[in-house]
């Protein structure tokens, strides 16, 4: 097991390296850099040429991309994420609290998604091909059946404007968390709902379920103690994959609900062409993604005794 964990942790390094490489490749291909994005639209660049050259030099933007890549990797190895070109502040200050926000939102949304996904998925599997199936699947897939911003606006309108239960403006407190977590949770529930349904259908047709019935176990016992644990493996896999969406893909939710996480930051940063920020966000979310999936892999052994990483 320890060997496996070490091996997997070591595997993170080439992946992170690959991701950074890809990031710099993209950066090289994108025509504008942070400085011209920063200066364009305020004054003619030629008049600010000196200032622009200054900043380019300071942030190594004048170097070819592979040299920038080398410098960045070197800095990251020294735990230095650099400075935002736009705000001239250390990236870590920009990203630190947003990362925590994102984790909080992701975790809360995950709970919502799991509850919604499992309930609708199980209902729909158990009542396969009935109207209950159609209805609970529709509920489970509600979130992903409309663009996130639309769902977000509708929820704000209902819960904040009409009912006045929850605040519109995100202030980072628990109340502000509820709506974005619900929205994001509902969006992510769809995949879980579907996976739950199909793996429950698979499991329910297995011989050991018939054995349990033949033993005279009650239906609810069979559903929750015999079927669900077996279906959980694929559900867990899906959860692992979703962490990626929750980390980087929540930007619309973050924008709408004013929940300031790294998704929002990343999208803005790429619009500002502020690549030090973008790189750091990619680094952090990819690292988290890989790490979470390692955890998920380790959880497999706990969910399913057949899987073992010990030789």
């Amino acid at each position: 097991m320890a060997n496996y964990v070490i091996r997997r942790l070591l595997m993170i390094i080439p992946i992170i390296f690959g991701i950074l490489f890809l990031t710099f490749l993209i950066k090289a291909l994108i025509p504008t850099d942070a400085v011209s994005a920063l200066f364009s639209g305020t004054v003619s660049e030629d008049k600010a040429a000196e200032a622009i050259a200054q900043i380019r030099e300071k942030y190594h933007l004048d170097l070819p991309w592979y040299r920038q890549f080398g410098i960045y990797v070197w800095d990251v190895m020294h735990l230095d994420l650099g400075e935002s070109v736009r705000t001239r502040q250390p990236v870590i200050d920009e990203i630190g609290f947003r990362y925590v926000n994102t984790l909080i939102l992701a975790f809360s949304a995950l709970i919502v998604a799991i509850v919604v996904g499992l309930v609708t998925g199980m209902l729909s599997a158990y009542f396969k091909n009935t109207w209950i199936d159609v209805t609970s699947m529709s509920v489970g897939m509600m979130g992903i059946s409309m663009p996130a911003f639309f769902l977000g606006f509708v929820l704000i309108f209902i819960f904040s404007v009409q009912l006045r239960w929850l605040p519109v403006i995100g202030r980072g407190d628990f109340q502000s968390l509820i709506l974005p977590a619900l929205t994001l949770g509902f969006i992510e529930a769809a995949a879980l709902s579907r996976v739950t349904r199909s793996s429950m259908l698979d499991v329910l047709s297995r011989e050991y379920i018939r054995t349990a019935r033949a033993k005279g176990m009650s239906e609810s016992y069979i559903l929750f103690r015999h079927a669900l644990p077996n279906a959980f493996l694929s559900i867990l896999t899906m959860i692992g994959l979703q962490i990626g969406n929750l980390l980087g893909g929540a930007f619309i939710i973050e924008v709408i609900f004013g929940w300031h996480g790294i998704g929002e930051l990343a999208v803005k940063a790429i619009q500002w062409r502020d690549f030090t920020i973008t790189q750091a966000v990619i680094l952090v979310s990819a690292g988290t993604y890989v790490f979470v999936n390692l955890i998920v892999d380790l959880l497999y052994t706990w969910v399913d005794p057949r899987i073992s990483y010990e030789e």
Binding site: I26, S138, P147, A148, F150, G248
Partner: protein, 296 residues
Amino acid sequence: MTDMILEEQQTFGKPTGSNFARAMRRLLRHRSGQVGGGVVLVLVFCALAGESILPYDPLSIDPINRLKPPSAEHFFGTDELGRDLFSRILYGSRYTLMIGLVSTVIAATFGITMGLLAGGGGKWADMLIMRVVDVLLAFPYILLLLAVVAILGPSLWTAMIAVGVGGMPGYARLIRGEVLAQKDAEYVEAMRALGASHLRILFGTILPNVLPQMVIYASFTIPLAILAAAALSFLGLGAQPPIPEWGAMLVDARTFLRTAWWVVAAPGMAIFVSILGMNLFGNALRDVLDPKEMSK
């Protein structure tokens, strides 16, 4: 022995046909298949029907009649430029569907090739391709999309390419898994025993057998692609005006939620119903195309 052939004949009914025909029959009896299939059919009809069924020109503006609520004249009302929303929704269905299909085809073509080569192309190919897939999967999805758009410049096609690129690793992973699962199946071994080449086995034998899984997966990635394109529109990088792609329409209309709800409701409901329908249809497909179901 002739006697035996005769007897065998007797036990043979009319051909039950291809797996496809059986799946279609099963689909027709599936509740989600009925609901979702109906929606998908309507959608495809609208997309293919052409401009002759449109009551108004979906593109010509009429600022005097802007923001008119739904009426007998304009079923869904008019938008901020006075265009008939009903016509725009009908007309836009082709773009919305096109985004879903084209980007899925892009994702599937490259993803399948990667997956097949990873699953069947030896240890090093597998190692290399899967690391690339890992990198793409760990790379924040929306940033990948934005990066592609930033490189290629925004347009409907770019949006489709971007969404396609974003979907690639999913296909590669799925196909690789399926290939690994099928690689040692007896019918594959049988081909190998006959001396079939590696590529023939990969593309001629394994690929057709993993296709149902692909179709199921595609049925879920098509709606996801439509939503991803809508997310790009949210950033102004999706379909370009005046193309009435639903996602872009919804994005442009969002400020009217309180003052002219119909402008928002028309594309919003169109997307909601279509995507829910597609998802339900996908569910039904999964049920009827699943290999376990097929052998019943």
